[in-house]
């Protein structure tokens, strides 16, 4: 199951980011997972629990957001939800999709850091550094 490798990759990247900013804890990690990324969210959640044990990430909540697959037809400029299994032929003209607009994402969207200060101010709205 490759979800274990993915979970380890998530933990590694968040740990590195935590180290570089001196964070002592993580309250949540939000992931964008495309419908066509070939990732099973439940399996990923299970592996994440194991992968984060003993790291600065331990105890963090993993939130996965499924990004639907959409494709675009060049001749028609149509954008459609490809569904699962994906239909990459244009529903309008039957041409091959020019590109997949979304659906293969596998990204860390957001990390919320936690620490002694976070615990003290936990009722506050989090400040977003970037959009």
């Amino acid at each position: 199951m490759h979800e274990m490798s993915l979970a380890v990759a998530v933990v590694d990247q968040v740990e590195a980011a935590a180290k570089s900013r001196g964070a002592v804890g993580v309250s949540s990690i939000e992931l964008d997972v495309g419908e066509l990324a070939g990732v099973v969210a439940d399996a990923l959640a299970f592996c994440f629990e194991l992968a984060c044990a003993g790291t600065v990430v331990e105890g963090a909540e993993l939130i996965t957001r499924t990004v639907p697959g959409t494709a675009r037809c060049e001749p028609c400029a149509d954008v459609w939800a490809v569904g699962m299994p994906p239909r990459l032929l244009c529903p309008g003209c039957g041409a091959a999709a020019g590109e997949l607009v979304s659906g293969r994402e596998l990204q860390i969207r957001e990390v919320r850091w936690a620490g002694p200060e976070a615990a003290r101010e936990e009722r506050r709205q989090p400040i977003t550094e970037e959009s």
Binding site: D12, P85, L100
Partner: protein, 231 residues
């Protein structure tokens, strides 16, 4: 204070970076990697053995790296072709990653190798997500696996640059519907080439070798829609 930070880094960035380094390193010395994906039992090893033998006959320096969870049986079979072969035991891991391939090349792969075939672990799910520094990705499906295989494993079929149907000598017995299979491939990977092959009756002999050689010359390899992600 608790802050939200958008890391904007792909989770697979580490593998992608390793794959890119491997691709650059190998292409610059004239070695092209071909990544072979299929489910267990689809006839990957038999096809590869035939193509390696043909490569030998044609004087093309080809080698194979074969991955399995356990046993060195495939390496022994492939070695009968006379090509340099190396077995990778993944110790339970269901797919290969770029750094595993890179690690196994040192002290083994002859400098003169033109084609390196990587026989991935038999699995159509996990290997699909990992770039191994290949210039050509091939997915195999045998006629006994059912026409809807491309729909069941859309990522594997959707990212392939070539689809090879194996064991076609058994197509009638398996009641394989070629038209339906082709339509399903087309749905997830419009424009990809589908070739029929049988090791038993010799159909499609040399097709993998020919396409791999074409890729070494940088000849327009098919770019799947799924690999043409906009964002």
């Amino acid at each position: 204070m608790c802050r939200a930070v958008d890391l904007q880094r792909a989770v697979l960035a580490k593998n992608e970076a390793a794959a890119q380094i491997l691709r650059t390193e190998l292409t610059s010395r004239g070695t092209t990697v071909v990544n072979l994906l299929s489910s267990p039992g689809s006839g990957k090893t038999a096809l590869l053995e035939r193509e390696l033998r043909l490569a030998g006959e044609r004087g093309v320096a080809a080698a194979a790296l074969t991955a399995d969870l356990a046993t060195e049986n495939d390496a022994r079979r492939l070695a009968r072709s006379g090509a340099p072969v190396k077995q990778v035991l993944t110790d339970g891991l269901c797919h290969l990653e770029a750094d595993m391939v890179a690690r196994h090349l040192h002290d083994w792969l002859p400098e003169s190798t033109r084609l390196l075939f990587v026989e991935n672990v038999g699995n159509l799910v996990c290997p699909a997500g990992y770039d191994l520094g290949e210039s050509l990705r091939v997915v195999l499906a045998s006629v006994t696996e059912g026409e809807d295989k491309p729909l069941k494993y859309p990522t594997a079929f959707g990212l392939a640059q070539l689809v090879i149907v194996t064991k076609t000598d058994m197509a009638d017995a398996a009641e394989f519907d070629e038209t339906a299979f082709r339509a399903h491939v087309e749905q997830v990977n419009p424009g990809v080439e589908v070739v029929l092959s049988s090791v038993r009756d010799g159909r499609g002999a040399g097709v993998l070798l020919d396409r791999a050689l074409a890729a070494t010359e940088g000849n327009q390899v098919h770019t799947p829609v799924m690999a043409r992600a906009g964002a």
